[in-house]
């Protein structure tokens, strides 16, 4: 029985530690994805400005509240606009952004394929 209790405690501490580490990773992931509004081309993770520091505290708070990564990013997008997100959303503004390179890849493949077939004949 004691061993069971002990192992449960150890497991909780371990998961907590893991959770803390995970929270830290999540925080880093989110802050790397947010753009610093008052800097020139730095993420919140990289920046040391007052604004960035406040944002980092806010991200911590939201993580503790249990929000998911998507929800937290959505929260900041709501406050500051799409510009603050480094990972562009996939909406009518950005269809071309995401799809054009893939389209180019497919077209390139088609051209090459056609040429190879022609030469092979």
């Amino acid at each position: 029985m004691k061993i069971l209790k002990l192992s449960i405690i150890i497991f909780i501490i371990f998961s907590f530690n893991q959770l803390m580490a995970d929270n830290e990773d999540l925080k880093n992931k989110i802050t790397k994805n947010l753009r610093c509004l008052v800097c020139q081309g730095q993420s919140i993770y990289d920046s040391d400005s007052e604004f960035a520091n406040s944002l980092k505290i806010m991200v911590d708070k939201k993580i503790k509240e249990g929000l998911s990564e998507k929800q937290i990013l959505s929260y900041f997008e709501d406050k500051y606009g799409e510009w603050i997100l480094y990972d562009p959303l996939f909406n009518k503004n950005t269809y071309f952004l995401w799809l054009l390179p893939l389209l180019i890849f497919l077209i390139g493949g088609a051209i090459i394929f056609k040429k190879l077939i022609k030469k092979h004949k």
């Binding site: 952004l97 180019i104 030469k119």
Partner: protein, 625 residues
């Protein structure tokens, strides 16, 4: 003051020589005679650019603040080395560097092309002079490095201390030798197209220039990344920042061109594509210059912006594009009946596939960089495109790319006996197993990481095995591809295994996390020539007994008034340890960031290895044909 006058009139003379050269070139073109005067004038043009450049350097060394450029970018307390480097660390001075490389390359080109057809030499000179004259006019009219200030100020405005760094000092010259050097490929390709001289011998001739430009561009980008690692941010070395992308795009085009020219040397195919790539490389360089200097993008690296300059480069850039389009469509005759056979399982096919992927990567970087501009102009919506975009679109495609790099060079032998190709399959299985073992403890993107790392390990094994068995068609290709596999592996493993501890500490406190204890021993304060220095002394203890002393520094500059953070980085072959401190406003504690970054040095060494492969190719004599 005198130097500014000499410098300015040297520029005017250089411009005059450009016009004279055009005149003589047109005169000599008709009778296909290469007047030796042409070579002399080309040399004189280069000579006067050098004079002008030296005058600016001397003005910086003497802190001659009657020169507006020196006033804006220097300070009497700056150390001598950085005064000199400050010459090209600003918009006007860097344009002098452009002219230096432009005039130098055409001079060397003419000297080394004695055996080439005369009309071709003359036409290449003409196209290069169009670019050179354009830059002379740009410099003299909108970006004069020799503007007078009266009355002469006592002191300059100082250079950004972040730019006072050795790696950053040599980064522009090396980068420009590659970036601007691709101009000669542009001019030469246009000349050859006009004269219908895109032949195998032209390919051999231009290959050396492509290699030179490519090697310098690779090293230039490397230096920029190393600088970013030591100076900017927290241990990052590539941020997909517009200015970084702008140097990467010509590199991608140039690498693609390099592969194609290897084909064109042996077989008369892909001629149209080679011309397009040759034009595109320099066009991308010019386009990059426009993006960075016109104020259309904002980034940590951009020069001070000015719409007049932006407009000039924009018009100049598009003039070059329209000239190229005209020449390509008017003069280029594609010979339809190609007698050369073309097996689909061949070296040519693998190079075409390489091109396919490279152009895709190029389109990703190009679209990611300019899309926000287009969106803003067309619909007034502002978005940001950052690292996640590039990672999501590039990383999945790296897997087939790496595999093709491994198998591609062997493709023409697949027709022959299949027996001793079993090792290809065996190595693949070993790579996958190894990768699985490495990745299984880290569950982020498990599948993707496993496949990616196994592809990289596979390329690593194949190229290594080929090297030791001497089973390669081309040693330079073997070395460069091997270097590339090491690069990808280092980046992936670094990403996977890096750890970071962020905490706030007062002097005397310590912090323990997992097996690492960070002890903030004390701080030293010093007064240096142009800044006040606060050095934090730390002891890092690992649970396996290792003890390390690290001393990150904060520098508080007086001119201009900024605080920079100098990381202390300890590098070994296995990993780097990295620590920075930062002030926290209104508090008596410091913010500490401590990172362990495995395999960092291999990222730098692998890029050197890649360019080394190019160097070997450059030095080889062509024996086989």
């Amino acid at each position: 003051m005198l130097y500014s006058v000499i410098g300015y009139y040297s520029l005017i003379l250089g411009l005059c020589f450009g016009l004279i050269l055009i005149f003589f070139s047109v005169k000599n073109f008709q009778n296909s005679k290469f007047d030796t005067k042409i070579l002399s004038f080309t040399f004189l043009q280069f000579f006067f650019v050098v004079i002008s450049f030296l005058c600016l350097v001397v003005s910086f060394i003497l802190s001659d603040f009657s020169n507006e450029t020196v006033f804006n970018n220097s300070h009497t307390t700056k150390p001598l080395f950085y005064k000199i480097a400050g010459t090209w660390g600003n918009h006007e001075g860097s344009l002098l560097l452009w002219l230096f490389v432009l005039t130098l390359f055409i001079l060397i080109f003419l000297i080394k092309s004695k055996n080439q057809p005369t009309k071709y030499k003359i036409l290449t000179l003409v196209f290069q002079q169009i670019i050179i004259i354009g830059f002379f006019v740009f410099l003299i009219k909108t970006s004069n490095p020799f503007n007078f200030l009266f009355p002469t100020p006592e002191e300059g405005l100082g250079l950004n201390p972040i730019l006072q760094d050795p790696a950053l000092a040599i980064h522009p010259p090396i980068l420009y030798l590659g970036y601007v050097g691709s101009s000669i490929i542009f001019s030469s390709a246009l000349a050859a197209t006009s004269l219908n001289l895109i032949t195998k011998s032209w390919a051999t001739h231009i290959k050396k220039w492509i290699l030179v430009s490519w090697i310098f561009l690779t090293l230039g980008i490397l230096l920029g990344s190393i600088w970013a690692y030591y100076e900017l941010g927290w241990g990052g070395f590539w941020f997909w920042d517009p200015v970084e992308n702008v140097s990467l795009m010509p590199w991608l085009a140039l690498t693609t061109l390099l592969h194609c020219i290897l084909v064109l040397e042996k077989k008369l195919i892909l001629t149209s594509w080679v011309i397009i790539l040759s034009i595109s490389t320099f066009t991308l360089s010019m386009c990059g210059t426009f993006l960075v200097r016109s104020g259309i993008l904002n980034s940590v690296h951009t020069f001070a912006n000015d719409p007049e300059r932006g407009l000039f480069i924009l018009v100049f850039l598009f003039s070059l594009i329209f000239i190229s389009l005209f020449i390509f469509f008017f003069f280029h005759k594609n010979n339809k009946n190609n007698p050369t056979s073309f097996f689909w399982l061949s070296k040519e096919t693998s190079i075409i596939i390489n091109n396919w992927f490279m152009m895709y990567f190029l389109s990703v970087v190009l679209i990611g960089t300019v899309y926000p501009i287009f969106l803003d102009v067309l619909s007034s919506q502002k978005i940001s495109v950052g690292p996640p975009f590039y990672h999501k679109l590039i990383i999945p495609f790296l897997i087939p790319f790496l595999l093709m790099m491994a198998i591609g060079p062997k493709l023409k032998w697949v027709k022959s006996n299949l027996n001793n190709k079993i090792y290809l399959i065996i190595l693949l299985i070993i790579s996958i197993l190894l990768s699985f073992l490495i990745v299984k403890n880290f569950d982020t993107n498990f599948l993707l990481n496993t496949i990616l790392i196994s592809s990289a390990i596979y390329l690593f094994f194949i190229t290594l095995r080929d090297f030791f068995n001497k089973k390669y068609t081309n040693i330079s290709q073997n070395i460069s591809h091997f270097g590339f596999s090491v690069l990808i592996l280092s980046i992936l493993l670094n990403n996977l295994f890096s750890t970071e501890i962020i905490t706030n500490l007062k002097v005397g406190e310590n912090f323990k996390f997992e097996n690492t204890k960070i002890i903030f021993e004390n701080i030293n304060q010093k007064e240096e020539k142009n800044y006040r220095s606060i050095i934090g002394n730390f002891t890092i203890q690992n649970s396996d007994g290792k003890i390390e002393n690290m001393s990150p520094e904060l520098r508080i500059y007086n001119q201009p008034n900024i605080v920079t953070s100098e990381a202390d980085i300890k590098t070994t072959l296995v990993s780097d340890t990295f620590i920075v401190i930062n002030l926290v406003q209104n508090q008596d504690y410091f913010n500490i960031r401590y990172q362990v970054k495995p395999f960092m040095i291999w990222i730098w060494l692998s890029v050197i290895l890649i360019s080394f492969g190019g160097l070997i190719s450059l030095m080889k004599k062509d024996y086989e044909k």
